[in-house]
Symmetry: C2
Subunit: 137 residues, 2 copies
């Protein structure tokens, strides 16, 4: 059972607050992270909040990268969602941790779309015989 | 210890394949989901792949919503990342499950940015006395 997508959830603590509060720095860092991960950039949207912080998303051919920063807590939450074998999400994570000089990081990788065999087969109604059932998620 | 953000990871299985393959349907559904969750929409980006599927992100004042669809597997992965108390991510999830007529769903909610007390206090260098240390994540 192989997931359709890989989702890396990266938490960057004890970062440089000035970098996290700069729309320009966050945007260019995320685009560079996408490039380092070997992503094909389709589009991007970044937004600076009037109080603190920047939110942004890079839509890539392989899914997306997202970031939300809390400069007042020196914290950033990053997501790298990918499909296919080409993308190297850990290269994006390593670059961003270094770029924001994170003192501490947490990384979790989740599989998304773990399809049980019977679900995949249901989408092929022409099958004459049902395959053996396997346990669902 | 309260997280800075809430991240709802929604997996929609056994969906209507035509809905998942339509850029228009996916986009309007995500914007409506954001509205139902009481989000303030800042911007959005959607992309239709030449093979199968749609990817899209709605940047909201409270963070973002993202979707990736695999019509050939009748599957969609949805993320609702929010901060603050106003947003109701479960309303977005319920709407999307109904809109795509999902036969089965999986939902996980994660806290993002769980700051240990010492980390939060480090960002206040003017403090005369350090607070009692608590365990980190």
């Amino acid at each position: 059972m192989k997931p359709l997508g890989r989702h890396l959830l990266l938490e960057l603590f004890e970062c440089d607050a000035d970098a996290l509060s700069s729309l320009h720095t966050v945007k260019t860092s995320m685009l560079e992270a996408a490039n380092r991960a070997r992503a094909t950039i389709v589009n991007h949207v970044f937004h600076e909040f009037s109080s603190f912080g920047v939110s942004g998303v890079v839509v890539i051919a392989e899914s997306h990268l997202a970031i939300h920063t809390w400069p007042e807590y020196r914290f950033a939450a990053v997501d790298v969602f990918s499909c296919g074998e080409v993308l190297q999400p850990q290269l994006a994570a390593e670059y961003l941790a270094e770029r924001f000089t994170a003192g501490r990081i947490s990384v979790v990788e989740l599989g998304r779309g773990l399809l049980a065999r019977e679900v995949a087969e249901e989408s092929r109604p022409a099958l004459a015989a049902a395959p053996p059932k396997v346990a669902g998620r």
